[in-house]
Symmetry: C2
């Protein structure tokens, strides 16, 4: 079988360490004689998994005092309403950089005055807006740090005068982050953490408990914080697998090391997109995402798109088709993607170029 | 190693078929060369898994036209607020049969007039209240069909004049159900379906869209129905494993067959509890749960409790300690628990009795 190179945008490639450890645990979890699929979340063995997951999250992200981390069931889409439910008192400001940011903004409008301070919709979200003003009476300023669909990313921890609420679903753990700049960070697990089914939330505790509306128990972040993410049954196997990825990441040297690798991979990828006569990148150069490189066939080679898709597929490339709303190509290069896979795609682009 | 008998209350024993198929898929999902942990939910292979899961759910539960089934991320605790969010216009009636029902009622109060029509709190929730009136102007009547903690169960599909909203987390798929009696049914996966991390919801579609409050997109059942549970990224591995359990159940003969087995197991268990001089059941006889048998040491043998725990543990029994809020013992006998495990526990109780 041709070796597969997994460029899926999410759920996406996991470290082979995570896959192997999960396989072992499905067979027999921690010597219990039971599968991780059927172990009580109240067992001492799983309790240790949850505690270590939260501790390693804090360690790797260098989360300061005054912040809490929690893993909750479900996806980041639910955080689009849970963030304003918890934090929006009167006004919130949103930066609109794509489909996910648009969805987040829409949900916030149900809870108060949610303002779009800037948008890159005018150019198909191909860049990150700059030079806007964030109203200083906003409860928070919401950003989507990485836009999987359009291939743009904010890799700077901004100072805007109000707490930042960040959807980091697709670039959390890809670089060191100055958590102190943020009020809340949330991230669906399925890119850089573990299998889909859980969401990591990091929140500055002093921001909680300030809204007047009644919070459903499961919506209230304080519920999960007070019970170390074990108020209700957590998604056991999803948490277990996430822990394996965190261990892999720590063993690799942590966020500074993975950032170097991510920069190396994205430079290799964009270098080829820019060099190759057939392709052209779609995102503004200064805003290019390290996680998702989006590109299309140049105008004059448009009719080769399907050919390239098939050619790349025959070489073992998986998931390089662009999002259905955009077309073209997308190479997702999350933490677990080896440099070797990017090289394989680059080779593939060069071989295809030499044929045309 | 002593063979383990998994009596955990949930997450709980899964069919070995589910465990094996999941193990294979973690290694290589459907010949894709990728793990189920890292496959896109938009892949044709996973799309087929979701479609088959929904179809088999409908088939096994014999869900009539006009009802939709969906699998959503997260646990049943979230449904405590999502049900009233979607359905409570003015008034809802709740039957209080234990901790879970109490929690569900509490969440509903945030959305309207939520009335407790009857409660068995007076006797530690050891029975199911009867002879109450359900207000006919209620939008729905909420019940918890099986009370895992106290070991009571409602195995009858009631007629109460208003749509029933049922938390069936711990007994769904354990018997045939007349779905037409219900307005909404929800069930966390982790007892009779699959690993924790997803919740099955079945809803009568004509009841939706009648509340005036703004529904967050992810809270609105119609969102998930319209996209066949793929509006956002579903918990992929959790859905995959659930499908394996449904296949196992169908192969076994479906709900009528599993009900026979469940009755046989519970009769064996309760027979021993009633016969054995050391133990006594805690739930009213006519309301005993087939899923969770709760029992304690008789007054005069109270000091043997820890001894029995250790003895049973040495014989391979896992998870028979009662819920931390109740004490004593609990034998959870979900679908996947073989009769042989119940027999092993019975043998254990007899052997212990003969020593004392």
């Amino acid at each position: 079988m041709t070796k597969k190179h997994n460029f899926y945008a999410g759920p996406s490639i996991m470290p082979s360490f995570t896959v192997e450890k999960t396989m072992e645990a499905v067979k027999d979890f921690d010597g219990t004689g039971l599968s991780i699929l059927e172990i009580s979340h109240r067992s001492a063995e799983f309790d240790a998994v949850m505690m270590e997951t939260l501790a390693l999250t804090k360690e790797l992200l260098d989360i300061p005092d005054g912040y809490a981390a929690m893993l909750v069931g479900g996806g980041a889409s639910s955080q689009f309403y849970i963030v304003p439910y918890n934090l929006l008192n009167k006004k919130a400001a949103y930066l609109n950089t794509g489909s996910w940011a648009t969805k987040a903004l829409k949900e916030a409008k149900n809870f108060g005055d949610a303002i779009e301070v800037a948008s890159s919709a005018d150019k198909d979200f191909s860049y990150i807006p700059k030079g806007y003003d964030v109203p200083q009476d906003a409860d928070y300023f919401h950003i989507t740090t990485n836009n999987t669909i359009r291939g743009t990313e904010i890799v700077e921890d901004m100072d805007v005068g109000v707490p930042i609420a960040a959807d980091m679903s697709s670039d959390i753990f890809s670089r060191p982050v100055d958590i102190s700049k943020y009020g809340v960070i949330y991230a669906g697990n399925q890119k850089n953490l573990g299998p889909a089914g859980a969401t990591l939330v990091i929140v500055k505790e002093s921001l909680l408990g300030k809204v007047e509306r009644a919070l459903p128990t499961m919506v209230d972040y304080r519920t999960h914080i007070s019970k170390s993410s074990m108020f209700n049954t957590p998604p056991v196997i999803n948490v277990f697998s996430a822990l394996q990825t965190l261990k892999w990441l720590k063993n690799l040297g942590g966020l500074s090391e993975i950032e170097k690798l991510n920069i190396e991979k994205s430079e290799l990828m964009y270098g080829e997109i820019d060099r190759n006569k057939l392709f052209v990148g779609t995102a503004a150069e200064e805003d290019r995402s390290r996680m998702n490189a989006t590109f299309v066939m140049k105008e004059e080679y448009q009719d080769l798109e399907e050919d390239f898709n098939q050619f790349a597929s025959s070489k073992g490339m998986i998931g390089i088709k662009g999002h259905r709303s955009v077309g073209g190509f997308r190479a997702s290069m999350y933490n677990a993607l080896p440099l070797e896979s990017v090289q394989a795609l680059v080779d593939c682009m060069q071989e295809f170029e030499s044929k045309h």
